[in-house]
C-alpha cells in the first residue's frame, strides 16, 4: 500500500502535478533541532501565502518543520495519506467526522485552554465533537453575492433582499451578452449547498442530530433556484468557476456568488462599482452566508504527536502576529480569533466591513454531522431540481431518507 502510494505521488511529481511540494523550507542548516515534522497546506491562490507559511515554519525552533504545499484535490490527498505512515504530521483540513471517529486525528482540546472563547464559535463548533476539539480554526472564509451597481442601475433594479427579488432582478439584468447571475457552471448545486435552506429559516442538521429540512419551505426555496435556471438568467459554462471573480469582472454576469477571497481583486478592478449582499431571505427566514474554516489538525499516525501538537499550539494559538499576517496580508480572510478580527483595520470599512457583519449576523457553518455521503445525496438532488426541473418535494423526500440513514450510522458509532 505504502509503496504504491509513494510511487503514485512520485509519478505525479514527475509530470509536474505536484511541482510545488518541494521540501525546501528556505532556511539554512544548523537550526534543525528536535524532531522532523511535515505540515501540509492546500494550494492557496494568493501570491505570497506559500512563502509566508514557510517563513512561520522556519521560525519554529523546537522542531524541524517541513511545509508541503499541495495543489490538486487536497481533500482526497490528505484522506489517502492519513491511511499511511508517510502522511503529514500536521495538516489543514476539516477534520471530517469520519476522520475523528476513525481515530485518525488527535484530540487538541488542551491547546485551547484559556483562549477558547476568543475563537469564533461559528467555526469552532464544527471542529468540536464529543465535547473535544479536533482542529484549531485557522482563518474564516465566507461567501457572498457580488453585484455590479452600474448594471443594476441601468436596468432599474434594486439590490435584492428576498429570494423572489433575486429571481426578478436576475431576469431583468439578463441581456443577449450579459447574464443576470452566476452561481457556478453547474447552476449553483455545488456552491449553494445548504445556503437556500438556511435563508428559508431551516438548517441541514438540527442540534439534536436530526434532518433539519424536512419541511415544505425547503421545496419552495429550491423551486425558486430552479426558476433562475428556467428563466435562463444564470451564466453557465463560463471559462472559470464561481470561486474566481473573472466572469464577474469580464462583464459576463451582472451578479456573482463568490468568496470573500475575491474581494481585493474585485475592488481593484471595479473600484466603487460593486456591492455585496448575503444570500437573500426566503419566506419567514433570514439572510444567510456560509462560513467555514480549515482546521489545523494532527494526524494520529504521526510519530511525534506531542511535538506536532506543540507546534500547532505555537503557530495557531500563541503567535497571534502570524495569524493576523496569514489572514490579512495575502488573500482576504477574517481571522478566526475574535480579538484579531476586531483589531484589523482592513475589515473596518466598505464591503469588507459588510462581509464581517454578514458573518456575525447571518453566518452558518456546515455541521460536522453533515458527512460527504449526505452532501452527495443532497447535491445530486439539488442539481436535478435546478437543471432538470425535477419535483423538489419528491427529490427532497429521497434526500431526507438517505440523510437520516447516514445520521443514524454516524450516531451509532459514537
Amino acid at each position: 500500500m505504502t509503496i504504491s502510494r509513494r510511487a503514485l505521488l512520485a509519478a505525479g511529481a514527475g509530470v509536474g502535478l505536484l511541482t510545488a511540494c518541494g521540501s525546501n523550507t528556505g532556511r539554512g542548516d544548523g537550526s534543525g533541532a528536535g524532531p522532523k515534522l511535515s505540515q501540509w497546506y492546500h494550494q492557496y491562490g494568493e501570491a505570497g501565502t506559500e512563502q509566508a507559511v514557510k517563513r512561520y515554519a522556519a521560525a519554529y525552533k523546537k522542531a524541524e518543520v517541513t511545509v508541503q504545499w499541495r495543489p490538486g484535490n487536497y481533500d482526497q490527498q490528505t484522506a489517502a495519506a492519513l491511511l499511511t505512515e508517510s502522511g503529514p504530521d500536521v495538516f489543514e483540513g476539516g477534520p471530517t467526522l469520519d476522520q475523528i471517529q476513525g481515530g485518525q486525528v488527535v484530540d487538541l482540546t488542551d491547546l485551547l485552554e484559556g483562549v477558547k472563547d476568543d475563537f469564533n464559535p461559528a467555526v469552532l463548533t464544527p471542529k468540536t465533537y464529543d465535547g473535544k476539539i479536533w482542529g484549531i480554526p485557522q482563518v474564516i472564509d465566507m461567501q457572498l453575492l457580488y453585484y455590479r451597481k452600474s448594471l443594476l442601475k441601468d436596468a432599474g433594479v434594486e439590490p435584492p433582499t428576498t429570494l423572489d427579488a433575486l429571481v426578478d432582478a436576475a431576469r431583468k439584468l439578463t441581456t443577449k451578452k450579459v447574464k443576470g447571475l452566476f452561481l457556478g457552471n453547474d447552476g449553483g448545486a455545488g456552491v449553494l449547498g445548504g445556503t437556500p435552506l438556511y435563508a428559508a429559516g431551516l438548517q441541514l442538521v438540527t442540534e439534536d442530530g436530526k434532518v433539519g429540512f424536512d419541511d415544505p419551505a425547503a421545496a419552495l426555496a429550491l423551486a425558486k433556484i430552479y426558476q433562475l435556471y428556467a428563466d435562463k438568467s444564470l451564466l453557465l459554462g463560463a471559462p472559470t468557476d464561481w470561486s474566481d471573480p473573472s466572469a464577474f469582472l469580464q462583464g459576463l454576469t451582472a451578479m456573482q456568488w463568490s468568496g470573500l477571497w475575491a474581494l481585493p481583486q474585485v475592488q481593484k478592478e471595479l473600484g466603487d462599482d460593486f456591492g455585496v449582499l448575503p444570500f437573500p431571505k426566503d419566506g419567514s427566514g433570514s439572510p444567510a452566508v456560509p462560513v467555514g474554516a480549515f482546521g489545523a489538525a494532527v494526524s494520529a499516525r504521526s510519530k511525534h504527536k506531542e511535538a506536532a501538537s506543540d507546534f500547532v499550539k505555537w503557530l495557531w494559538v500563541e503567535r497571534a502576529d502570524y495569524q493576523e499576517d496569514f489572514a490579512l496580508s495575502y488573500g482576504f480572510h477574517i481571522p478566526a480569533r475574535i480579538s484579531l478580527a476586531k483589531k484589523a483595520d482592513k475589515l473596518k470599512t466598505g464591503a469588507a466591513a459588510e462581509a464581517v457583519r454578514f458573518t456575525t449576523d447571518h453566518g452558518y457553518a456546515q455541521p460536522l454531522l453533515w458527512t460527504p455521503a449526505s452532501q452527495t445525496a443532497y447535491q445530486d438532488a439539488l442539481s436535478r431540481i435546478i437543471k432538470s426541473g425535477a419535483n423538489p418535494e419528491s427529490e427532497l423526500r429521497t434526500v431526507v431518507r438517505k440523510v437520516s440513514a447516514e445520521l443514524d450510522r454516524v450516531k451509532k458509532k459514537s
Binding site: A79, L83, T96, T376, Q379, A381
Partner: protein, 303 residues
C-alpha cells in the same frame, strides 16, 4: 549430466525472466484485488484494515443505490453512442486511407496522431476552448454566425448536449488508433478476391464492401468491438475532467468508475462500499466480455 544442468539452467532462466513480472503482478494486481474483495465485506470507513464485519450489507447498499444503477445506465448510453460511432468512423477512415495512392503514410500519421494525445489534455481543450458555454467558445462562435444563442454545452441537461462533447472528444482521440487496426486488416485481404469479384460482375463500391471487405474483416471487427466496449466501461478521464468541479460531480453522465471514485476515494472514504461496487462491476465486465466472445465465436477455430 550436461542435460541435467541444462534443465536446471532453464528453470533458473525461466524464473529470472518471469519472476520479477510475476512478483509485480502478484503484489500490485492480485493482492489489491483480493484485498478489495475482502474489504467489501467490512465497514471500512477511512481504513484499509477494518474490523467490523458486515457480511453482504455493502453489496445490498450499492445495489439499492439509485446513483449506482444510474451509472450503469450512463455506461449503456455511452456505449450505444461511442461503439458504433467509432466503428463506422475508423472503418471509413481506413477505407479512404487505404485507397490513397500518394502520401498514404502522411494521412495514416495524421489520423493516428490524436491517439498520442492524453485524455486529460484533450478534455481540457474540449471544455475550455471548443465547447465552453460563453459567447466566445469555438462552438458558440460558429452558432453565433448563424444567429444562434450560445449554448452551455456541459451544463445543459435538456437536451443533453453534454453527450455531444463527451462522445466527440473520445471519438477524436481513438478513431485513429482503430483505423490502424482496420488498415492492417484490409492489407491482409487477398487482392485476388477483389479481382474474382470484378470478374463475377460485382460492382465496386457498396456491393464489394458488403460481400468481400466486411466478411474478410470479421476477425478485426470482433477485436475492435470488444476493445471499444471494454474501453467504454473503463471511461473515467474525460468524464472527470469535463464535468467535475471543486464541489463534486453532477448527477448526470456519471459512469461507474466516476461513481466509485467519489464514494471510495473522495472525501468520504467508504472503502467497503467502494470495494463492493468494484466487485459488482468486475463481475459485470466478466459476464459481458464472455458473452460477447461467445456470441462472436471468438476463439472458435476458423473454418
Amino acid at each position: 549430466m550436461t542435460a541435467e544442468r541444462r534443465v536446471r539452467n532453464h528453470t533458473l532462466w525461466f524464473w529470472i525472466f518471469v519472476g520479477p513480472f510475476a512478483l509485480g503482478l502478484g503484489l500490485f494486481t492480485y493482492v489489491p484485488l483480493l484485498w478489495s474483495v475482502g474489504l467489501s465485506f467490512f465497514d471500512a470507513h477511512n481504513t484499509v484494515t477494518p474490523t467490523e464485519f458486515v457480511g453482504l450489507d455493502n453489496y445490498q447498499a450499492v445495489l439499492s443505490d439509485d446513483a449506482f444503477t444510474d451509472s450503469l445506465r450512463t455506461f449503456l448510453v455511452f456505449t450505444a453512442f461511442i461503439v458504433p460511432a467509432t466503428y463506422v468512423l475508423s472503418l471509413a477512415l481506413a477505407l479512404m486511407v487505404n485507397r490513397v495512392r500518394r502520401a498514404q503514410a502522411f494521412f495514416r500519421s495524421v489520423f493516428f496522431l490524436p491517439a498520442a494525445c492524453s485524455y486529460v489534455v484533450a478534455a481540457l481543450i474540449w471544455k475550455m476552448s471548443i465547447f465552453n458555454g460563453v459567447r466566445f467558445g469555438l462552438a458558440n462562435t460558429v452558432l453565433g454566425w448563424f444567429g444562434g444563442d450560445p449554448i452551455a454545452w456541459l451544463s445543459t441537461t435538456d437536451p443533453p448536449w453534454y453527450w455531444l462533447v463527451i462522445v466527440t472528444v473520445r471519438l477524436w482521440l481513438q478513431a485513429g488508433f482503430y483505423m490502424i487496426l482496420f488498415l492492417a486488416g484490409l492489407q491482409r485481404i487477398d487482392p485476388g478476391l477483389y479481382e474474382a469479384a470484378a470478374v463475377d460482375g460485382a460492382r465496386p463500391g457498396w456491393q464489394v464492401l458488403r460481400h468481400i471487405t466486411l466478411p474478410q474483416l470479421r476477425a478485426t471487427s470482433i477485436a475492435v468491438v470488444l476493445l471499444l466496449v471494454i474501453n467504454a466501461f473503463q471511461a473515467f478521464d474525460e468524464f472527470y475532467n469535463l464535468l467535475s468541479d471543486a464541489r463534486g460531480y453532477p448527477p448526470y453522465a456519471r459512469p461507474p468508475l466516476v461513481y466509485l471514485y467519489y464514494i471510495a476515494l473522495g472525501q468520504g472514504q467508504n472503502l467497503g462500499l467502494g470495494s463492493a461496487g468494484a466487485v459488482v462491476l468486475a463481475l459485470i465486465i466478466v459476464v459481458v466480455t464472455v458473452g460477447q466472445a461467445r456470441w462472436f465465436g471468438l476463439g472458435r477455430r476458423e473454418e
